[in-house]
Symmetry: C2
Subunit: 318 residues, 2 copies
Protein backbone atom coordinates (compact mmCIF):
# COMPACT_ATOMS: atom_id res chain seq x y z
CA UNK A 1 0.00 0.00 0.00
CA UNK A 2 1.34 3.43 -0.94
CA UNK A 3 0.60 6.02 1.69
CA UNK A 4 1.28 9.75 1.43
CA UNK A 5 1.37 11.74 4.66
CA UNK A 6 1.49 15.52 4.99
CA UNK A 7 3.48 16.23 8.10
CA UNK A 8 4.45 19.04 10.39
CA UNK A 9 6.80 18.50 13.29
CA UNK A 10 6.24 16.71 16.56
CA UNK A 11 2.65 15.55 16.01
CA UNK A 12 3.37 14.42 12.47
CA UNK A 13 6.52 12.59 13.50
CA UNK A 14 4.81 10.69 16.32
CA UNK A 15 1.92 9.84 14.03
CA UNK A 16 4.39 8.46 11.49
CA UNK A 17 5.93 6.23 14.11
CA UNK A 18 2.48 4.81 14.71
CA UNK A 19 1.94 4.43 10.97
CA UNK A 20 5.15 2.42 10.56
CA UNK A 21 4.03 0.17 13.40
CA UNK A 22 0.49 -0.24 12.08
CA UNK A 23 1.48 -0.71 8.43
CA UNK A 24 5.03 -2.09 8.46
CA UNK A 25 4.91 -3.10 4.80
CA UNK A 26 3.49 0.16 3.48
CA UNK A 27 5.45 2.34 1.11
CA UNK A 28 5.29 5.68 2.91
CA UNK A 29 6.09 9.08 1.43
CA UNK A 30 6.10 12.02 3.81
CA UNK A 31 5.65 15.52 2.44
CA UNK A 32 7.18 17.73 5.09
CA UNK A 33 6.37 21.31 5.92
CA UNK A 34 9.25 23.71 5.28
CA UNK A 35 7.37 26.93 6.02
CA UNK A 36 8.89 27.08 9.48
CA UNK A 37 12.44 26.74 8.16
CA UNK A 38 14.67 29.51 9.37
CA UNK A 39 18.19 30.81 8.89
CA UNK A 40 19.98 31.00 12.22
CA UNK A 41 23.62 31.98 12.52
CA UNK A 42 23.87 31.73 8.75
CA UNK A 43 22.72 28.11 8.84
CA UNK A 44 19.60 26.66 7.31
CA UNK A 45 17.43 25.03 9.94
CA UNK A 46 14.46 22.84 8.93
CA UNK A 47 12.70 22.06 12.21
CA UNK A 48 9.87 19.93 10.85
CA UNK A 49 11.97 17.83 8.48
CA UNK A 50 14.50 17.23 11.23
CA UNK A 51 11.86 16.30 13.78
CA UNK A 52 10.49 13.66 11.40
CA UNK A 53 13.99 12.44 10.52
CA UNK A 54 15.25 12.30 14.11
CA UNK A 55 12.02 10.75 15.45
CA UNK A 56 11.88 7.97 12.88
CA UNK A 57 15.66 7.52 12.89
CA UNK A 58 15.94 7.09 16.64
CA UNK A 59 17.81 10.33 17.35
CA UNK A 60 15.04 12.46 18.82
CA UNK A 61 14.90 13.88 22.32
CA UNK A 62 11.81 11.90 23.33
CA UNK A 63 10.80 14.12 26.20
CA UNK A 64 10.71 17.42 24.38
CA UNK A 65 9.78 15.90 21.02
CA UNK A 66 12.30 17.93 19.00
CA UNK A 67 16.08 18.19 18.88
CA UNK A 68 18.60 15.44 19.53
CA UNK A 69 18.80 13.08 22.45
CA UNK A 70 21.74 13.41 24.86
CA UNK A 71 22.31 16.97 23.67
CA UNK A 72 24.81 19.60 24.82
CA UNK A 73 24.85 23.33 24.15
CA UNK A 74 28.50 24.37 23.89
CA UNK A 75 28.20 26.08 20.51
CA UNK A 76 25.13 28.05 21.62
CA UNK A 77 26.90 29.18 24.80
CA UNK A 78 29.86 30.39 22.75
CA UNK A 79 27.64 32.21 20.29
CA UNK A 80 26.03 33.96 23.24
CA UNK A 81 29.51 34.86 24.53
CA UNK A 82 30.09 36.57 21.16
CA UNK A 83 26.83 38.42 21.66
CA UNK A 84 25.40 36.72 18.60
CA UNK A 85 21.72 35.85 18.75
CA UNK A 86 18.99 34.91 18.72
CA UNK A 87 19.14 33.25 22.14
CA UNK A 88 15.55 32.06 22.13
CA UNK A 89 16.04 29.22 19.68
CA UNK A 90 17.56 26.14 21.25
CA UNK A 91 20.11 24.59 18.92
CA UNK A 92 22.22 21.86 20.48
CA UNK A 93 25.69 20.79 19.43
CA UNK A 94 24.58 17.56 17.75
CA UNK A 95 21.75 19.36 16.03
CA UNK A 96 24.16 22.02 14.76
CA UNK A 97 25.99 19.36 12.76
CA UNK A 98 22.82 18.65 10.78
CA UNK A 99 22.41 22.31 9.91
CA UNK A 100 26.08 22.64 9.00
CA UNK A 101 25.87 19.70 6.60
CA UNK A 102 22.62 21.00 5.12
CA UNK A 103 23.95 24.53 4.66
CA UNK A 104 27.15 23.29 3.09
CA UNK A 105 25.24 21.13 0.60
CA UNK A 106 22.80 23.94 -0.23
CA UNK A 107 25.79 26.24 -0.74
CA UNK A 108 27.24 23.69 -3.12
CA UNK A 109 24.08 23.92 -5.19
CA UNK A 110 22.07 20.88 -4.12
CA UNK A 111 18.33 21.45 -3.74
CA UNK A 112 16.75 20.87 -0.33
CA UNK A 113 15.17 17.62 -1.53
CA UNK A 114 18.60 16.18 -2.40
CA UNK A 115 20.03 17.43 0.88
CA UNK A 116 17.16 15.84 2.81
CA UNK A 117 17.77 12.55 1.02
CA UNK A 118 21.47 12.73 1.91
CA UNK A 119 20.72 13.41 5.58
CA UNK A 120 18.20 10.56 5.62
CA UNK A 121 20.89 8.21 4.27
CA UNK A 122 22.26 8.37 7.79
CA UNK A 123 19.00 8.30 9.72
CA UNK A 124 17.16 5.70 7.65
CA UNK A 125 13.73 6.90 8.77
CA UNK A 126 11.99 4.06 6.91
CA UNK A 127 9.91 6.53 4.91
CA UNK A 128 10.66 8.65 1.90
CA UNK A 129 10.91 12.17 3.31
CA UNK A 130 10.36 14.98 0.83
CA UNK A 131 10.27 18.69 1.57
CA UNK A 132 7.05 20.19 0.22
CA UNK A 133 9.18 22.42 -2.00
CA UNK A 134 12.80 23.16 -2.84
CA UNK A 135 11.85 26.83 -3.03
CA UNK A 136 12.00 29.14 -0.07
CA UNK A 137 8.72 29.52 1.76
CA UNK A 138 8.65 31.28 5.10
CA UNK A 139 5.58 31.46 7.27
CA UNK A 140 5.19 34.92 8.75
CA UNK A 141 2.74 35.91 11.44
CA UNK A 142 1.29 39.39 11.86
CA UNK A 143 1.34 40.45 15.50
CA UNK A 144 1.13 43.65 17.51
CA UNK A 145 4.30 44.45 19.44
CA UNK A 146 4.80 47.68 21.34
CA UNK A 147 1.77 49.16 19.70
CA UNK A 148 2.81 48.36 16.17
CA UNK A 149 1.61 45.67 13.82
CA UNK A 150 4.48 43.78 12.32
CA UNK A 151 5.26 40.48 10.65
CA UNK A 152 7.51 38.06 12.50
CA UNK A 153 8.90 34.75 11.37
CA UNK A 154 6.75 31.85 12.51
CA UNK A 155 9.52 30.61 14.79
CA UNK A 156 9.70 33.98 16.40
CA UNK A 157 5.97 33.89 17.02
CA UNK A 158 5.99 30.29 18.21
CA UNK A 159 9.23 30.05 20.16
CA UNK A 160 10.17 33.57 21.20
CA UNK A 161 6.65 34.87 21.83
CA UNK A 162 5.23 31.45 22.80
CA UNK A 163 2.14 32.43 20.77
CA UNK A 164 1.23 34.67 23.68
CA UNK A 165 -0.12 37.50 21.53
CA UNK A 166 -2.92 37.26 18.99
CA UNK A 167 -1.94 36.25 15.47
CA UNK A 168 -3.74 38.63 13.12
CA UNK A 169 -2.66 36.83 9.98
CA UNK A 170 -0.56 33.86 8.96
CA UNK A 171 1.14 34.20 5.57
CA UNK A 172 3.30 31.54 3.93
CA UNK A 173 5.56 34.06 2.19
CA UNK A 174 6.80 32.75 -1.13
CA UNK A 175 4.36 29.85 -1.27
CA UNK A 176 2.51 31.28 -4.26
CA UNK A 177 5.74 31.18 -6.28
CA UNK A 178 6.94 27.81 -4.97
CA UNK A 179 6.90 24.57 -6.91
CA UNK A 180 6.35 21.18 -5.29
CA UNK A 181 9.66 19.41 -4.75
CA UNK A 182 10.58 16.64 -7.21
CA UNK A 183 8.56 13.53 -6.39
CA UNK A 184 5.79 15.25 -4.46
CA UNK A 185 3.12 15.31 -7.16
CA UNK A 186 4.21 11.88 -8.42
CA UNK A 187 3.85 10.38 -4.93
CA UNK A 188 0.39 11.87 -4.54
CA UNK A 189 -0.69 10.63 -7.96
CA UNK A 190 0.53 7.11 -7.14
CA UNK A 191 -0.89 6.98 -3.60
CA UNK A 192 -3.53 4.55 -2.39
CA UNK A 193 -4.40 6.82 0.50
CA UNK A 194 -3.45 10.29 1.72
CA UNK A 195 -3.34 10.98 5.46
CA UNK A 196 -3.36 14.27 7.39
CA UNK A 197 -1.91 13.54 10.83
CA UNK A 198 -3.05 15.64 13.79
CA UNK A 199 -0.56 18.32 12.75
CA UNK A 200 -1.29 22.04 12.86
CA UNK A 201 -3.93 22.67 10.17
CA UNK A 202 -2.74 26.21 9.51
CA UNK A 203 1.04 26.43 9.81
CA UNK A 204 1.91 22.79 9.04
CA UNK A 205 -0.61 21.11 6.72
CA UNK A 206 -2.04 24.44 5.60
CA UNK A 207 1.37 25.61 4.44
CA UNK A 208 1.98 22.42 2.48
CA UNK A 209 -1.41 22.82 0.82
CA UNK A 210 -0.48 26.43 -0.05
CA UNK A 211 2.18 25.28 -2.50
CA UNK A 212 0.40 25.53 -5.87
CA UNK A 213 -0.37 22.08 -7.24
CA UNK A 214 -0.33 20.07 -4.03
CA UNK A 215 -3.91 20.69 -2.91
CA UNK A 216 -5.12 20.11 -6.45
CA UNK A 217 -3.12 16.89 -6.81
CA UNK A 218 -4.61 15.53 -3.58
CA UNK A 219 -8.14 16.53 -4.53
CA UNK A 220 -7.76 14.98 -7.96
CA UNK A 221 -5.90 11.81 -6.94
CA UNK A 222 -9.17 9.91 -6.61
CA UNK A 223 -8.04 8.11 -3.47
CA UNK A 224 -9.30 8.42 0.12
CA UNK A 225 -7.99 11.43 2.00
CA UNK A 226 -8.36 10.96 5.75
CA UNK A 227 -7.35 13.33 8.52
CA UNK A 228 -7.14 13.20 12.29
CA UNK A 229 -8.23 16.12 14.42
CA UNK A 230 -5.46 17.98 16.25
CA UNK A 231 -8.19 19.50 18.42
CA UNK A 232 -9.59 17.39 21.24
CA UNK A 233 -12.31 18.78 23.47
CA UNK A 234 -11.98 22.27 21.95
CA UNK A 235 -8.25 22.53 22.68
CA UNK A 236 -5.14 21.56 20.74
CA UNK A 237 -3.68 18.23 21.86
CA UNK A 238 -0.30 19.91 21.92
CA UNK A 239 1.13 23.18 20.70
CA UNK A 240 -0.94 26.27 20.22
CA UNK A 241 -2.99 25.52 17.12
CA UNK A 242 -5.92 27.50 18.51
CA UNK A 243 -3.90 30.72 18.22
CA UNK A 244 -3.25 30.37 14.50
CA UNK A 245 -6.70 28.94 13.80
CA UNK A 246 -8.14 32.18 15.14
CA UNK A 247 -5.97 34.08 12.64
CA UNK A 248 -7.67 32.30 9.74
CA UNK A 249 -11.11 32.61 11.32
CA UNK A 250 -11.53 28.96 12.22
CA UNK A 251 -12.92 27.84 15.56
CA UNK A 252 -10.71 25.57 17.62
CA UNK A 253 -13.05 22.59 17.40
CA UNK A 254 -12.63 19.22 15.73
CA UNK A 255 -15.57 19.90 13.45
CA UNK A 256 -14.47 23.38 12.45
CA UNK A 257 -11.04 22.10 11.36
CA UNK A 258 -12.69 19.42 9.20
CA UNK A 259 -14.90 22.03 7.57
CA UNK A 260 -11.83 24.21 7.09
CA UNK A 261 -10.17 21.48 5.01
CA UNK A 262 -13.54 20.92 3.34
CA UNK A 263 -15.22 18.03 1.61
CA UNK A 264 -13.52 18.94 -1.65
CA UNK A 265 -10.27 17.78 -0.12
CA UNK A 266 -11.13 15.56 2.83
CA UNK A 267 -13.05 12.27 2.56
CA UNK A 268 -12.76 11.10 6.14
CA UNK A 269 -12.09 12.68 9.53
CA UNK A 270 -11.37 11.20 12.91
CA UNK A 271 -12.37 13.11 16.02
CA UNK A 272 -11.60 12.08 19.57
CA UNK A 273 -14.12 10.11 21.59
CA UNK A 274 -14.80 13.18 23.73
CA UNK A 275 -15.91 15.00 20.57
CA UNK A 276 -18.43 12.33 19.53
CA UNK A 277 -21.11 14.99 19.21
CA UNK A 278 -19.08 16.56 16.35
CA UNK A 279 -19.54 13.50 14.13
CA UNK A 280 -22.94 14.52 12.87
CA UNK A 281 -21.75 18.05 12.10
CA UNK A 282 -18.75 16.77 10.13
CA UNK A 283 -20.82 14.26 8.22
CA UNK A 284 -23.33 16.97 7.43
CA UNK A 285 -20.44 18.77 5.73
CA UNK A 286 -19.96 15.75 3.45
CA UNK A 287 -17.02 14.24 5.29
CA UNK A 288 -17.27 10.73 6.73
CA UNK A 289 -16.43 10.88 10.41
CA UNK A 290 -15.77 8.62 13.38
CA UNK A 291 -15.04 9.29 17.03
CA UNK A 292 -12.15 7.23 18.40
CA UNK A 293 -9.40 7.76 20.99
CA UNK A 294 -6.97 10.29 19.49
CA UNK A 295 -4.35 10.79 22.19
CA UNK A 296 -0.89 9.64 21.02
CA UNK A 297 0.08 8.63 24.54
CA UNK A 298 2.30 5.78 23.36
CA UNK A 299 3.13 3.82 20.25
CA UNK A 300 0.25 1.36 20.71
CA UNK A 301 -2.31 4.12 21.08
CA UNK A 302 -0.88 5.89 18.03
CA UNK A 303 -0.87 2.71 15.94
CA UNK A 304 -4.50 2.14 16.92
CA UNK A 305 -5.35 5.65 15.68
CA UNK A 306 -3.61 4.90 12.40
CA UNK A 307 -5.57 1.67 11.99
CA UNK A 308 -8.78 3.60 12.53
CA UNK A 309 -7.71 6.08 9.85
CA UNK A 310 -6.85 3.31 7.40
CA UNK A 311 -10.16 1.56 8.11
CA UNK A 312 -12.01 4.78 7.49
CA UNK A 313 -10.07 5.13 4.23
CA UNK A 314 -11.11 1.60 3.22
CA UNK A 315 -14.72 2.44 4.07
CA UNK A 316 -14.55 5.59 1.96
CA UNK A 317 -13.04 3.66 -0.92
CA UNK A 318 -15.76 1.00 -0.72
CA UNK B 1 56.22 52.69 21.51
CA UNK B 2 54.37 51.43 18.47
CA UNK B 3 55.30 47.88 17.61
CA UNK B 4 54.21 45.93 14.54
CA UNK B 5 54.50 42.15 14.66
CA UNK B 6 54.04 39.76 11.74
CA UNK B 7 52.60 36.60 13.21
CA UNK B 8 51.79 33.05 12.28
CA UNK B 9 50.06 30.71 14.72
CA UNK B 10 51.38 29.10 17.87
CA UNK B 11 54.91 30.55 17.89
CA UNK B 12 53.69 34.02 17.02
CA UNK B 13 50.98 33.92 19.65
CA UNK B 14 53.33 32.82 22.43
CA UNK B 15 55.84 35.46 21.37
CA UNK B 16 53.10 38.08 21.58
CA UNK B 17 52.27 37.04 25.11
CA UNK B 18 55.92 37.67 25.97
CA UNK B 19 55.80 41.01 24.17
CA UNK B 20 52.80 42.17 26.17
CA UNK B 21 54.63 41.20 29.37
CA UNK B 22 57.90 42.86 28.32
CA UNK B 23 56.32 46.01 26.92
CA UNK B 24 53.01 46.45 28.74
CA UNK B 25 52.56 50.04 27.57
CA UNK B 26 53.40 49.42 23.92
CA UNK B 27 50.83 49.96 21.21
CA UNK B 28 50.97 46.62 19.42
CA UNK B 29 49.58 45.86 15.98
CA UNK B 30 49.68 42.25 14.82
CA UNK B 31 49.54 41.47 11.13
CA UNK B 32 48.29 37.90 11.03
CA UNK B 33 48.85 35.31 8.37
CA UNK B 34 45.68 34.22 6.59
CA UNK B 35 47.35 31.97 4.00
CA UNK B 36 46.47 28.89 6.00
CA UNK B 37 42.80 29.84 6.22
CA UNK B 38 40.57 27.08 5.02
CA UNK B 39 36.91 26.42 4.33
CA UNK B 40 35.75 23.40 6.30
CA UNK B 41 32.14 22.23 6.30
CA UNK B 42 31.24 25.45 4.53
CA UNK B 43 32.73 27.51 7.34
CA UNK B 44 35.65 29.90 7.14
CA UNK B 45 38.41 28.86 9.51
CA UNK B 46 41.35 31.21 10.22
CA UNK B 47 43.74 29.09 12.30
CA UNK B 48 46.48 31.69 12.80
CA UNK B 49 44.21 34.61 13.63
CA UNK B 50 42.28 32.43 16.06
CA UNK B 51 45.42 31.11 17.73
CA UNK B 52 46.59 34.67 18.36
CA UNK B 53 43.14 35.75 19.54
CA UNK B 54 42.56 32.76 21.82
CA UNK B 55 46.10 32.85 23.23
CA UNK B 56 46.06 36.53 24.09
CA UNK B 57 42.41 36.42 25.14
CA UNK B 58 42.85 33.54 27.58
CA UNK B 59 40.82 30.98 25.65
CA UNK B 60 43.58 28.83 24.20
CA UNK B 61 44.21 25.17 24.89
CA UNK B 62 47.61 25.73 26.50
CA UNK B 63 48.88 22.22 26.02
CA UNK B 64 48.34 21.88 22.31
CA UNK B 65 48.77 25.59 21.58
CA UNK B 66 45.76 25.85 19.30
CA UNK B 67 42.03 25.46 19.72
CA UNK B 68 39.93 26.21 22.77
CA UNK B 69 40.50 25.11 26.32
CA UNK B 70 38.03 22.66 27.88
CA UNK B 71 36.90 21.60 24.43
CA UNK B 72 34.41 18.94 23.33
CA UNK B 73 33.87 17.39 19.91
CA UNK B 74 30.17 16.67 19.59
CA UNK B 75 29.69 18.52 16.31
CA UNK B 76 32.69 16.79 14.73
CA UNK B 77 31.43 13.37 15.82
CA UNK B 78 28.07 14.10 14.28
CA UNK B 79 29.60 15.33 11.03
CA UNK B 80 31.55 12.07 10.88
CA UNK B 81 28.31 10.16 11.46
CA UNK B 82 26.95 11.91 8.37
CA UNK B 83 30.06 10.78 6.50
CA UNK B 84 31.05 14.39 5.99
CA UNK B 85 34.75 15.11 6.12
CA UNK B 86 37.51 15.94 6.39
CA UNK B 87 38.11 14.03 9.61
CA UNK B 88 41.75 15.07 9.93
CA UNK B 89 41.08 18.62 11.05
CA UNK B 90 40.22 18.90 14.70
CA UNK B 91 37.44 21.43 15.20
CA UNK B 92 35.94 21.48 18.66
CA UNK B 93 32.46 22.62 19.62
CA UNK B 94 33.55 25.93 21.17
CA UNK B 95 35.83 26.61 18.22
CA UNK B 96 32.97 25.92 15.80
CA UNK B 97 31.09 28.89 17.24
CA UNK B 98 33.90 31.23 16.18
CA UNK B 99 33.77 29.91 12.62
CA UNK B 100 30.00 30.13 12.54
CA UNK B 101 30.05 33.78 13.63
CA UNK B 102 32.84 34.58 11.16
CA UNK B 103 31.11 32.85 8.26
CA UNK B 104 27.82 34.53 9.01
CA UNK B 105 29.46 37.97 9.10
CA UNK B 106 31.42 37.34 5.90
CA UNK B 107 28.19 36.17 4.28
CA UNK B 108 26.58 39.42 5.37
CA UNK B 109 29.29 41.29 3.49
CA UNK B 110 31.74 42.30 6.19
CA UNK B 111 35.42 42.03 5.24
CA UNK B 112 37.63 39.70 7.27
CA UNK B 113 39.29 42.64 9.01
CA UNK B 114 35.93 43.85 10.34
CA UNK B 115 34.99 40.31 11.34
CA UNK B 116 38.30 39.89 13.17
CA UNK B 117 37.71 43.13 15.02
CA UNK B 118 34.23 41.95 16.02
CA UNK B 119 35.55 38.62 17.30
CA UNK B 120 38.31 40.44 19.20
CA UNK B 121 35.68 42.61 20.89
CA UNK B 122 34.94 39.50 22.91
CA UNK B 123 38.51 38.26 23.41
CA UNK B 124 40.18 41.61 24.12
CA UNK B 125 43.64 40.35 23.11
CA UNK B 126 45.30 43.62 24.12
CA UNK B 127 46.72 44.07 20.64
CA UNK B 128 45.22 45.30 17.41
CA UNK B 129 44.89 42.14 15.33
CA UNK B 130 44.69 42.66 11.57
CA UNK B 131 44.54 39.99 8.92
CA UNK B 132 47.29 40.56 6.37
CA UNK B 133 44.59 40.93 3.72
CA UNK B 134 40.83 40.88 3.32
CA UNK B 135 41.35 39.07 0.02
CA UNK B 136 41.48 35.33 -0.27
CA UNK B 137 45.01 33.92 -0.18
CA UNK B 138 45.51 30.17 0.15
CA UNK B 139 48.88 28.58 0.60
CA UNK B 140 49.16 25.47 -1.51
CA UNK B 141 51.95 22.91 -1.32
CA UNK B 142 53.11 20.76 -4.23
CA UNK B 143 53.59 17.16 -3.14
CA UNK B 144 53.82 13.74 -4.73
CA UNK B 145 50.99 11.43 -3.75
CA UNK B 146 50.48 8.00 -5.30
CA UNK B 147 53.03 8.78 -7.96
CA UNK B 148 51.47 12.06 -9.02
CA UNK B 149 52.51 15.60 -8.28
CA UNK B 150 49.63 17.64 -7.01
CA UNK B 151 48.89 20.77 -5.06
CA UNK B 152 47.27 20.39 -1.68
CA UNK B 153 46.02 23.06 0.71
CA UNK B 154 48.63 23.94 3.31
CA UNK B 155 46.47 22.50 6.07
CA UNK B 156 46.23 19.26 4.19
CA UNK B 157 50.02 19.15 3.94
CA UNK B 158 50.56 20.18 7.53
CA UNK B 159 47.77 18.42 9.36
CA UNK B 160 46.70 15.48 7.20
CA UNK B 161 50.13 14.58 5.83
CA UNK B 162 52.01 15.83 8.91
CA UNK B 163 54.60 17.25 6.46
CA UNK B 164 55.76 13.67 6.01
CA UNK B 165 56.40 13.97 2.27
CA UNK B 166 58.72 16.48 0.58
CA UNK B 167 57.22 19.86 -0.29
CA UNK B 168 58.31 20.63 -3.84
CA UNK B 169 56.88 24.12 -3.86
CA UNK B 170 54.92 26.43 -1.58
CA UNK B 171 52.64 28.85 -3.36
CA UNK B 172 50.49 31.51 -1.68
CA UNK B 173 47.72 31.31 -4.27
CA UNK B 174 46.04 34.67 -4.74
CA UNK B 175 48.71 36.64 -2.88
CA UNK B 176 49.83 38.49 -6.00
CA UNK B 177 46.32 39.89 -6.42
CA UNK B 178 45.75 40.57 -2.73
CA UNK B 179 45.75 43.98 -1.11
CA UNK B 180 46.91 44.60 2.45
CA UNK B 181 43.94 44.83 4.80
CA UNK B 182 42.88 48.32 5.93
CA UNK B 183 45.31 49.59 8.55
CA UNK B 184 48.19 47.27 7.67
CA UNK B 185 50.31 49.73 5.69
CA UNK B 186 49.37 52.57 8.01
CA UNK B 187 50.49 50.59 11.06
CA UNK B 188 53.82 49.75 9.43
CA UNK B 189 54.39 53.36 8.41
CA UNK B 190 53.70 54.54 11.96
CA UNK B 191 55.73 51.83 13.69
CA UNK B 192 58.77 52.43 15.89
CA UNK B 193 59.90 48.86 15.42
CA UNK B 194 58.85 45.83 13.40
CA UNK B 195 59.32 42.35 14.87
CA UNK B 196 59.36 38.95 13.19
CA UNK B 197 58.62 36.38 15.90
CA UNK B 198 60.06 32.87 15.56
CA UNK B 199 57.16 31.99 13.25
CA UNK B 200 57.54 29.90 10.13
CA UNK B 201 59.58 32.03 7.68
CA UNK B 202 57.94 30.46 4.62
CA UNK B 203 54.28 29.73 5.29
CA UNK B 204 53.67 32.31 8.03
CA UNK B 205 55.86 35.40 7.70
CA UNK B 206 56.73 34.59 4.08
CA UNK B 207 53.07 34.57 3.14
CA UNK B 208 52.43 37.91 4.83
CA UNK B 209 55.42 39.38 2.96
CA UNK B 210 54.00 37.98 -0.30
CA UNK B 211 51.08 40.40 -0.17
CA UNK B 212 52.19 43.19 -2.50
CA UNK B 213 53.04 46.32 -0.56
CA UNK B 214 53.78 44.80 2.83
CA UNK B 215 57.42 43.88 2.24
CA UNK B 216 58.03 47.24 0.61
CA UNK B 217 56.35 49.15 3.43
CA UNK B 218 58.50 47.38 6.02
CA UNK B 219 61.70 47.94 4.04
CA UNK B 220 60.86 51.61 3.55
CA UNK B 221 59.55 52.35 7.04
CA UNK B 222 63.00 53.44 8.16
CA UNK B 223 62.62 51.74 11.54
CA UNK B 224 64.46 48.75 13.01
CA UNK B 225 63.22 45.39 11.79
CA UNK B 226 64.28 42.61 14.11
CA UNK B 227 63.59 38.90 13.84
CA UNK B 228 64.04 35.85 16.03
CA UNK B 229 65.20 32.57 14.57
CA UNK B 230 62.64 29.76 14.51
CA UNK B 231 65.55 27.37 13.94
CA UNK B 232 67.61 26.35 16.95
CA UNK B 233 70.54 23.96 16.49
CA UNK B 234 69.62 23.27 12.89
CA UNK B 235 66.08 22.17 13.71
CA UNK B 236 62.80 24.04 14.05
CA UNK B 237 61.88 24.83 17.64
CA UNK B 238 58.43 23.52 16.93
CA UNK B 239 56.48 22.55 13.85
CA UNK B 240 58.11 21.44 10.67
CA UNK B 241 59.62 24.59 9.22
CA UNK B 242 62.55 22.61 7.82
CA UNK B 243 60.20 20.86 5.38
CA UNK B 244 58.93 24.04 3.80
CA UNK B 245 62.32 25.75 3.97
CA UNK B 246 63.64 22.97 1.74
CA UNK B 247 60.88 23.77 -0.76
CA UNK B 248 62.18 27.30 -1.16
CA UNK B 249 65.83 26.16 -1.22
CA UNK B 250 66.74 27.50 2.21
CA UNK B 251 68.81 25.49 4.65
CA UNK B 252 67.26 24.86 8.04
CA UNK B 253 69.79 26.93 9.96
CA UNK B 254 69.43 30.15 11.91
CA UNK B 255 71.85 31.93 9.57
CA UNK B 256 70.22 30.72 6.38
CA UNK B 257 66.82 31.99 7.49
CA UNK B 258 68.32 35.43 8.22
CA UNK B 259 69.92 35.53 4.77
CA UNK B 260 66.59 34.40 3.28
CA UNK B 261 64.89 37.49 4.73
CA UNK B 262 67.93 39.50 3.67
CA UNK B 263 69.55 42.70 4.84
CA UNK B 264 67.22 44.71 2.61
CA UNK B 265 64.43 43.79 5.00
CA UNK B 266 66.02 42.70 8.25
CA UNK B 267 68.20 44.93 10.46
CA UNK B 268 68.65 42.61 13.41
CA UNK B 269 68.45 38.88 14.07
CA UNK B 270 68.49 36.85 17.22
CA UNK B 271 69.83 33.31 17.15
CA UNK B 272 69.81 30.88 20.04
CA UNK B 273 72.85 30.57 22.30
CA UNK B 274 73.59 27.13 20.81
CA UNK B 275 73.93 28.83 17.41
CA UNK B 276 76.49 31.40 18.58
CA UNK B 277 78.77 30.46 15.70
CA UNK B 278 76.15 31.72 13.26
CA UNK B 279 76.46 35.30 14.50
CA UNK B 280 79.48 36.10 12.37
CA UNK B 281 77.82 34.67 9.26
CA UNK B 282 74.68 36.72 9.79
CA UNK B 283 76.61 39.90 10.48
CA UNK B 284 78.66 39.27 7.34
CA UNK B 285 75.35 39.39 5.46
CA UNK B 286 74.81 42.90 6.82
CA UNK B 287 72.37 41.98 9.59
CA UNK B 288 73.22 42.77 13.20
CA UNK B 289 73.05 39.58 15.21
CA UNK B 290 73.14 38.34 18.79
CA UNK B 291 73.02 34.89 20.34
CA UNK B 292 70.64 34.63 23.30
CA UNK B 293 68.37 31.93 24.75
CA UNK B 294 65.45 31.54 22.31
CA UNK B 295 63.33 28.79 23.83
CA UNK B 296 59.85 30.05 24.78
CA UNK B 297 59.62 27.64 27.70
CA UNK B 298 57.55 30.00 29.80
CA UNK B 299 56.36 33.60 29.89
CA UNK B 300 59.50 34.86 31.64
CA UNK B 301 61.81 33.25 29.10
CA UNK B 302 59.69 34.63 26.28
CA UNK B 303 59.62 38.13 27.76
CA UNK B 304 63.39 37.98 28.09
CA UNK B 305 63.67 37.12 24.38
CA UNK B 306 61.45 40.07 23.54
CA UNK B 307 63.61 42.42 25.63
CA UNK B 308 66.67 41.18 23.74
CA UNK B 309 64.90 41.89 20.46
CA UNK B 310 63.88 45.39 21.57
CA UNK B 311 67.41 46.09 22.78
CA UNK B 312 68.79 44.96 19.46
CA UNK B 313 66.31 47.27 17.77
CA UNK B 314 67.48 50.17 19.93
CA UNK B 315 71.07 49.33 19.04
CA UNK B 316 70.20 49.30 15.35
CA UNK B 317 68.40 52.62 15.65
CA UNK B 318 71.38 54.23 17.45
Amino acid sequence: MRIVVLAGGIGGARFLRGLKAAAPDADITVIGNTGDDIHLFGLKVCPDLDTVMYTLGGGINEEQGWGRTDETFRVKEELAAYGVGPDWFGLGDRDFATHIVRTQMLGAGYPLSAVTEALCARWKPGVRLLPMSDDRVETHVAVDEEGERKAVHFQEYWVRLRASVPAHAVVPVGADQAKPAPGVLEAIAAADVVLFPPSNPVVSIGTILAVPGIREAIAEAGVPVVGLSPIVGDAPVRGMADKVLAAVGVEATAAAVARHYGSGLLDGWLVDSVDADAVAEVEAAGIRCRAVPLMMTDLDATAAMVREALELAAEVRA
